[in-house]
């Protein structure tokens, strides 16, 4: 109780509440614009938050992260274009409902399911906290190294059909982290005698290039589009009642979101896929899925909104980000010398609890905002795409240049912008690069610090958590190989 009061005390400050309000409303608007998304917005805002207090900066970014998926469902339902990539599954059932003149019902259900997913996830996070506080201190260097390694493996394997590309890009990320002065002996690595490479490649510069600048270039080079969405008439409160009819689907989907969100590298897509499949298999009307099924819509939206809060678990408890957005947030922690990990749970639990409550408040704020302002948001969706590209390009400047006032940083960011554009055009993932950079750094530091106590390779896994993590790594690799072989055999059989 004391902890809760301390957390509320932390939150009840005008700057934190304003950051939460701006983050949550801004996140909805950003999510609603196809082609922007939370990653672009967070990348741009990241350097600006460095001058804010940690709780204020993180609340702002969390607000955007947690609310963008709410906004992303609007264009997915109304114009068959997902606002953010994770709303893609929402188009399957949301848009057919719009075609049946049920846009109001679809939006209302999507908001309610998202709210359910978001709140469910935060409650799980709060309930899990004492357990996490108990387990987290048992994570030493070896365990954190193995957890980061597991994260890298999962990131690669989660990109089904693009595993090789994800593998080479994650390794590229690890390599980027190696450029510059090596942290122990200060020897140069891959600087090619260039002074500007001696300080290494900054993570924020790469993030801004890969996410913000690449998107700006892509929008500017592509043909201009002016999305049109019809107005939605009538109140949209009915979904709150209707959700009760689909409470089982919503609860299971939210649970999938929580579990998948906690596992590094897995995230929204797997959670959505699993909950959608579950909902279809257990539905009385499975034939309606993909043709405007409310259950399909609920399962997709509840699952993806449960992920953000759950994704904070590995970040806060172990300091290991599971996906790009939490990797970006990690840099905010580092800038303010707040080191996420076991110590945070032991020494600053009120700070952690304040973040949880902020997430809870965020969901309430967003729902209220959405119930009254959907038609206003439709105006934002109509912004022409090339115009949007100009705005993103201008905003990206703030992010890159304000870091060190360096023209070199801007050139590097522009190079990564073009690289990101190529990856997007080829449908190859950009996230492995960022996770490679962040997790590669963690692995290097933790492997080194764990070695003095390791005499033989088996010593590395002689502690229970390390052994469990190692076992999980082996199982994950084995399962992947098995599924590839199975898939290969079934394709062969089909051909026969």
């Amino acid at each position: 109780m004391e902890l809760l009061l301390a957390a509320i005390d932390n939150l009840l400050r005008w700057d934190v509440l304003v950051a939460l309000l701006i983050g949550s409303i801004g996140g909805v608007l950003i999510g609603a614009i196809p082609g922007v998304g939370a990653a672009v917005a967070i990348a741009i805002l990241l350097p600006a938050t460095f001058s804010l207090e940690p709780l204020v900066g993180l609340t702002l970014l969390l607000g955007i992260y947690g609310s963008s998926m709410y906004g992303g469902s609007i264009p997915a339902i109304l114009i068959n274009t997902p606002g953010t990539a994770v709303n893609a599954l929402t188009t399957y059932d949301g848009y057919p409902m719009t075609q049946r003149n049920e846009a109001r019902r679809a939006l209302s259900l999507a908001y309610s399911a998202s709210f359910m997913g978001g709140v469910f996830s935060v409650i799980c996070l709060m309930l899990l906290s004492p357990l996490l506080a108990l387990i987290a201190p048992h994570f030493g260097s070896r365990e954190i190294f193995l957890a980061a390694l597991l994260g890298i493996i999962l990131v690669v394997l989660a990109h089904r059909g693009k595993v090789f590309a994800a593998g080479m890009l994650v390794c590229f990320g690890i390599f980027l982290n190696n450029i510059g002065l090596e942290p122990m002996r200060y020897t140069k690595r891959y600087t090619f005698e260039q002074s500007w490479l001696a300080s290494g490649v900054d993570l924020i510069v790469v993030i801004l290039g890969l996410f913000a600048l690449s998107q700006a270039f892509l929008l500017l080079v592509k043909k201009d589009e002016r999305p049109e969405a019809a107005r939605v008439s009538g109140g949209i409160f009915q979904g709150l009642k209707e959700l009760w009819l689909y409470k089982r689907v919503a609860t299971v989907a939210s649970s999938f979101g929580v579990v998948m969100g906690m596992i590094p590298g897995v995230g929204e897509f797997t959670a959505q896929f699993m909950s959608y499949t579950y909902a279809q298999k257990t539905s009385k009307t499975p034939e309606q899925f993909g043709k405007g099924s409310p259950e399909g819509l609920v399962s997709s939206e509840a699952a993806n909104n449960a992920v953000p809060a759950a994704a904070m678990i590995p970040l806060l408890a172990l300091g290991i980000p599971g996906e790009a957005l939490t990797a970006m947030m990690l840099s905010v922690f580092y800038v303010h010398n707040v080191i996420p990990g076991p110590q945070l749970f032991q020494n600053q639990m009120d700070f952690v609890m304040a973040l949880y409550i902020a997430l809870l408040l965020l969901n309430v704020m967003v729902l209220i905002f959405l119930l009254f302002s959907t038609n206003m948001i439709l105006k934002v969706i109509r912004i022409p795409t090339r115009f949007l590209g100009v705005v993103i390009l201008t905003l990206s400047f703030v992010g890159v240049y304000s870091l060190r006032n360096s023209m070199t940083d801007c050139i590097i960011a522009a190079v990564f912008g073009v690289f990101g554009l190529i990856l997007k055009r080829l449908d190859l993932p950009t996230v492995p690069i960022i996770l490679g950079m962040v997790l590669g750094n963690i692995m290097e530091v933790k492997l080194r610090s764990s070695m003095p106590r390791v005499k033989t390779p088996l010593d590395f896994i002689d502690r229970p958590i390390a052994a469990i993590l190692f076992g999980i790594i082996l199982i994950v690799i084995f399962m992947h190989i098995r599924s590839v072989v199975k898939e290969y055999r079934s394709t062969k059989q089909d051909e026969v």
Binding site: E182, K188, R189, V221, V400, S402, L403, V418
Partner: protein, 179 residues
């Protein structure tokens, strides 16, 4: 023959035009970096393997090369999609906007953040094909808002323009702090 077919089935995947060029360039880059590991990293005597400065570059570059080869094989064995040159043209067209961006970066320390943004945004909006006065004006308003929010309110570190030196004292310090 059946061996080749088996391999093809294992590596076949969906790909986009330009994928082969990208796979080739990426692999060449990885091999170039790997070939330079001897002169770009150091081997420290009496230090454990995992603590060697070259350990992680070696791991990452070996991974880049290995996965790069596998990706290239996949690219070669997958059905070809035509339009490679057109796609490369698309990539190259982005360079125009890179130069717009770098010109903007170059201009800011000279003419100041506010003026540079108020010139850059409508010009680029015009270049992007919009001719309506409403959109050009809107771009200027957005530009002004961006400057006020980030520089005046959030005080992000963007230096004042060189031309501010020619302003009267009171005006100069106001512009340096806010714009």
């Amino acid at each position: 023959m059946s061996q080749i077919k088996t391999m093809q089935q294992l590596f076949k995947r969906e790909r986009r035009s330009g994928d082969l060029i990208f796979a080739l360039l990426f692999l060449a880059f990885a091999i170039f970096l790997l070939a330079n590991i001897g002169n770009q990293t150091q081997w420290v005597k009496g230090t454990k393997l995992v603590s060697q400065p070259s350990f992680w570059p070696a791991i990452s570059l070996a991974g880049m090369t290995l996965f790069g080869i596998l990706h290239l094989i996949g690219s070669i064995l997958s059905p070809r999609i035509y339009g490679r040159l057109k796609e490369i043209g698309f990539w190259l067209r982005s360079l125009e906007y890179v130069s717009w961006f770098l010109a903007y970066v170059w201009l800011v320390p000279i003419i100041g953040y506010l003026l540079a943004t108020l010139i850059f945004m409508p010009l680029l909006v015009f270049r992007a094909g919009y001719r309506e006065k409403r959109l050009l004006l809107l771009s200027m308003i957005i530009g002004l808002t961006i400057v006020v929010v980030f520089k005046s309110f959030l005080s992000v570190k963007i230096p004042g323009g060189m031309i501010y030196e020619y302003l009267p004292d009171a005006m100069r310090s106001f512009m340096l702090i806010n714009f």
